[in-house]
């Protein structure tokens, strides 16, 4: 049946007169201020209108105005980078506490640009930037649309609108997988464990970086980490290499064994896994062909400023100083006691972490720019300090901590109680083929005392030697610290456990048990606390909680101490020692002896990369001291620029060295 329509059909709609209106009441539209205006100015006045008025509460994931929790925000500026409208800029806030892993800046948002896309929220590294449910903001002055998001919106607590969840997250929080040698296989050889990234993987890992640069400040040498990671991503090895050498002359070594403070402070690590900065650096060095070095990095340093510098010790600090002094145009001689240069790199770190090839690549380059290495020459024995003072215009000491620290417990003077720094060089020599397996005395069961990286080096090297010698392992590790606060790096702990090391952490060694002149074990007491109230090292033990672990050898890796025997008495009298370290200025200059500079472990410590930084700083100090004294000062433009660059890149002190968080 066909329905009849007439022009009066629409009149049916009068039925809506009697239905609940769809129109939204004023109280759900207007803010209090505007409701107040309406109340005062309309004919119908009702107090209720003002009291109840608040705009409709928006949906749960509304993209309203931003809020930013300053407690969480690290000022990484990723929001600024992603903003499609360039609405976000970072305002510098030096009133915010300066801590590692954060920059003193906070985003400000131009609501004359913002398009409310929430990409900034989805890409925020910490999740501090959020969007609220507030969506009303009007003003007659266009100047008032630049706002700094804080935890409160316009001074009020507001409800959260759009926040990121796992679906909307635009960051890649997972590290690209790195191939490691299998624990069972690696136990029986000194093959390097970490295989390194392939090109494809390196690019993927590099793509995770957000270029915030938070890491730069926490790196002791302040490497340009975002820059070289970007170079990897863009497949520009040569460019990356140049950028690395601006601040670090030992990248191949650092790419393997650096303590990577950068990764600790990485902004991605706030919620996910840090970028594998160390491995990416290693990727650049590993994949850079030798001719790139010659072609693109090696600047022609033909001229020499008429001043000579002697470097004592070819460790990280010495080489760092040597490289930058050479780049600045000085003639540099490095004195090394041992047959091979590299110091702790060459003799203190086992090859499964740092193979010789990597050290060679770095040191060969330093040598190739004209640094002279004088090996097998111990200062104080083969050449005296006085001679150096006479022959050279400045002397840099970077002799490091190479003597094992003693453990004052009964039985510690036994021959089967071995110091780490006596053992590790032997291991390295074995790897190089200088020593044979038989020459190294490794027992079937071993106890290692110490919880640092060196202790693990000892334990894991011993594991390998045992495996080679006896086909099975028995290594126990004990330390004062509990297992979750061990000072070693996390990887060491995990890999050590994989290789079968047994842990007895949180115990203090009390006595080395001897039976018939042979070591049989170690008596441990539970450690209650390591430092006393004043923060000094003064461990307390619980005598009740005693255990004995068996072992035929005990290795002590509780730290190293310096060896100052090479210093003549006339000189050492003028030096001030503080806990084994020499007191010097920020740039390493010793007070009263302007020609003498120190760096590395004997100045600051505590790690390899800090040594390089010390070397770099001392290079600047030496230059400041010598350049004005030098006779020949007319240098070419290239050298001038290089000098300037080397000085500009001089790193400042790290947060830890400055005593900050």
């Amino acid at each position: 049946m066909k329905k009849r329509y007439s022009m009066f059909t629409p009149w049916r709609h009068f039925k809506y007169l009697f239905k609940k209106p769809l129109t939204i009441p004023f109280k759900d539209i207007f803010t209090k201020k505007n409701a107040d205006y309406l109340n005062k100015n309309s004919i119908i006045k009702s107090k209720k209108r003002v009291e109840e008025s608040s705009p409709r509460e928006a949906a749960d994931n509304l993209r309203g105005f931003h809020t930013n929790d300053w407690e969480e925000c690290i000022g990484c500026g990723t929001c600024m980078d992603i903003c499609p409208t360039e609405a976000i800029t970072m305002a510098e806030r030096l009133d915010v506490e300066d801590v590692s892993g954060a920059l003193q800046q906070r985003p400000i948002i131009d609501y004359g640009r913002c398009c409310f896309c929430a990409l900034c929220v989805d890409t925020c590294t910490t999740g501090s930037l959020k969007m609220s449910k507030e969506y009303i903001y009007t003003h007659e002055n266009p100047d008032n649309f630049l706002l700094m998001p804080e935890k409160l919106w316009q001074g009020h607590v507001v409800k959260e609108g759009w926040v990121k969840d796992e679906n909307s997250d635009l960051l890649d929080l997972e590290r690209v997988h790195m191939e490691h040698e299998d624990p069972e296989e690696r136990k029986s050889s000194f093959v390097e464990i970490v295989r390194g990234y392939s090109k494809e993987y390196a690019k993927q890992e590099a793509a995770r970086c957000v270029e915030c640069g938070v890491c730069t400040a926490s790196c002791p040498v302040q490497m340009h980490i975002p820059a070289y990671i970007k170079a990897i991503w863009e497949d520009d090895i040569e460019g990356g290499l140049r950028q690395i050498y601006e601040t670090n002359p030992l990248p191949g070594v650092c790419g393997r064994v650096c303590t990577h403070n950068c990764e600790t402070s990485c902004s991605i690590a706030v919620r996910g896994e840090a970028i594998a900065i160390r491995w990416l650096k290693r990727y650049i060095i590993d994949s850079a062909p030798d001719d790139i070095y010659k072609k693109s990095i090696m600047e022609p340093i033909s001229e020499v400023i008429d001043a000579k510098v002697a470097i004592v010790g070819s460790g990280p600090a010495g080489l760092g100083a040597a490289y930058y002094l050479r780049v600045m145009g000085y003639k540099v001689d490095v004195y090394e006691e041992k047959p091979l240069t590299g110091g702790v790199m060459r003799y203190g770190i086992p090859a499964y972490r740092l193979p010789d090839s990597a050290i060679d690549k770095d040191i060969d380059f330093i040598e190739s720019i004209g640094v002279k290495m004088i090996t097998n020459t111990r200062v104080g024995r083969d050449i005296s300090m006085d001679q150096l003072e006479k022959d050279y215009d400045a002397v840099f000491l970077g002799t490091g901590f190479f003597k094992p620290r003693d453990l004052p417990i009964p039985g510690a003077d036994h021959k089967d109680v071995i110091g780490a720094m006596d053992f590790l060089p032997k291991v390295r020599d074995y790897e190089r083929g200088v020593l044979k397996l038989e020459d190294i005395d490794v027992a079937k069961s071993i106890v290692v005392i110490g919880g640092g990286d060196v202790a693990f080096d000892v334990a894991r090297s011993a594991t390998r030697l045992q495996m080679l010698k006896y086909g099975k392992t028995n290594v126990k590790l004990t330390s004062l610290e509990d297992q979750d606060v061990l000072p070693c790096s996390e990887d060491e702990l995990i890999e050590g456990a994989e290789e079968g090391i047994e842990f007895f952490c949180g115990n203090g060694p009390q006595e080395i048990l001897l039976k018939k002149g042979k070591v049989t074990g170690l008596r441990l007491w539970k450690c209650l606390c390591i430092f006393d109230e004043e923060g000094r090292f003064n461990p307390e033990f619980d005598k009740e909680c005693e255990q004995v672990i068996e072992g035929q050898q005990v290795y002590i890796a509780i730290g190293q101490s310096p060896d100052y025997e090479y210093l003549p008495k006339s000189l050492s009298e003028k030096l001030t020692f503080e806990r084994g370290k020499i007191k010097a200025s920020n740039l390493g200059q010793v007070e009263g002896l302007p020609w003498l500079y120190v760096g590395g472990d004997i100045l600051r410590g505590p790690d390899l990369i800090s040594g390089v930084a010390d070397g770099h700083r001392s290079a600047q100090g030496i230059d400041d001291y010598l350049f004005n004294k030098a006779k020949k000062k007319e240098i070419s433009k290239t050298l001038k620029e290089m000098r300037l660059a080397a000085k500009e890149q001089t790193p400042g002190l790290t947060y830890r060295q400055l005593g900050k968080k």
Binding site: K3, Y5, S6, M7, T9, P10, R12, H13, L22, A58, A59, D60, N61, L62, R63, D81, I82, P84, T85, C115, F116, C117, A118, L119, D122, T123, M131, G161, W162, D165, N167, S168, L170, L171, D172, V176, Q204, E205, A206, A207, R208, C209, V210, W233
Partner: protein, 368 residues
């Protein structure tokens, strides 16, 4: 007789959007007519080249104001084709729900828009109020009423909020109940009928000449030429729906098709809500943070069926972070420019607005 020049728009109640139709009239018969586009030109295609792929998701919805989701969909599909991303099943269904809700909203809007040229404001009031409900649903799902920025390469940005199904069902029930009423108000109303029957017809044989797609074409050629059927994207092949067609394309039959599509869209959304599987709603764009997302080299033309016809994105990647070129084929390009030039002459002056409304001329997508 002397010709007189008249403007329809840009500032005119009968003009949708900021565009102008220049008409030379003799009496009230149009002798010549042209569209003056460009008032909404923002340089989108240039802007897209200058932003990274991920940043582009905040630009693209703004190409077409009334129906932003088709832009997002076409862009996302193109990027996915080039990058070889497979979208999770759940995301396909969510996308379809969004697209169909958007289709509902624009059909309501344009049906309501019929009110202004024909002088029947009740229709407009009803339609816009219902559209407002859709916008609120959008706000719940996507976080914004109009510019959703929700469909992105790899899926959608967030999962559906809990309890949204009830909201959608409630709205659809309400719309379905009042569907007859809508028809009575507009297309069955003798006053409106008198205005729209036989006005500005589009002959079937010229459809190809113009390149008109969508309802304009389907109502002329009587074939279900709908991209959702012809080359199903998302999961439209798993959905059972019909494409309304007609064999004579005048204002009335186009409006009629539009209203029938409303029913189809309701049914599609219902089926989607029934079929939607559990699971992920988005796959990552590949390794790395999204600002460093690159897409392999290639040219792709990705299309979706908008309420006005074939909406296409022509995208070129040179392997970089930014698209090398993005070209937008606005669905209303043919009917807006060539259509007005060729098929308005000879009709009456007051019917010009009806062409704009029933053919669906959306100026932002013409200008970009």
């Amino acid at each position: 007789m002397k010709e007189m020049k008249l403007f329809l728009g840009p500032q005119h109640p009968g003009m949708h959007g900021n565009a102008s139709v220049h008409m030379y009239v003799d009496g009230d018969i149009i002798k010549r007519a042209f569209l003056l586009p460009g008032m909404l030109h923002r340089g989108f295609e240039k802007g897209m080249e200058r932003h990274s792929w991920i940043n582009n998701i905040s630009l693209i919805p703004r190409v077409c104001v009334v129906e932003p989701d088709i832009n997002e969909m076409a862009f996302a599909m193109g990027a996915e084709t080039l990058a070889g991303i497979t979208v999770p099943e759940r995301a396909h269904y969510i996308r379809m729900i969004i697209l169909e809700l958007a289709r509902l909203s624009i059909h309501l809007m344009s049906y309501g828009g019929l009110g202004s040229p024909t002088g029947l404001y009740t229709l407009m009031y009803h339609a816009h109020t219902d559209r407002n409900t859709i916008l609120n649903i959008f706000e719940k799902i996507t976080g914004h009423r109009v510019y959703h920025q929700y469909i992105i390469p790899g899926g959608v940005r967030k999962d559906l909020p809990i309890g949204i199904e009830e909201d959608i069902h409630a709205f659809l029930d309400d719309l379905e109940n009042r569907y007859e009423e809508y028809r009575d108000l507009g297309i069955n109303n003798p006053t409106v009928l008198a205005r729209i029957t036989d006005t500005i017809p589009l002959p079937a044989e010229v459809v190809w000449e113009l390149g008109v797609t969508g309802i304009g074409m389907r109502s002329a050629v009587n074939k279900p030429y709908d991209l959702r059927k012809v080359m199903p994207y998302a999961r439209y092949d798993k959905i059972d729906f019909e494409v309304p067609v007609a064999d004579y394309s005048d204002a009335k039959s186009r409006v009629d098709c539009k209203l029938q599509e409303v029913i189809q869209s309701i049914s599609i959304i219902r089926q989607c809500l029934k079929l939607i599987p559990e699971g992920d709603v988005r796959v990552p764009l590949g390794r790395g943070q999204s600002m460093r997302w690159t897409i392999p080299k290639g040219h792709v033309y990705s299309v979706v069926e908008s309420s006005r016809g074939e909406f296409g994105y022509f995208m070129v990647s040179n392997g970089g972070v930014n698209p090398y070129r993005v070209g937008v084929r606005g669905a209303s390009y043919p009917q807006g420019l060539l259509g007005i030039e060729k098929y308005l002459p000879g009709t009456r002056l007051d019917d010009a607005a009806l062409w704009v409304d029933t053919m669906g001329v959306c100026s932002p997508e013409i200008d970009r």
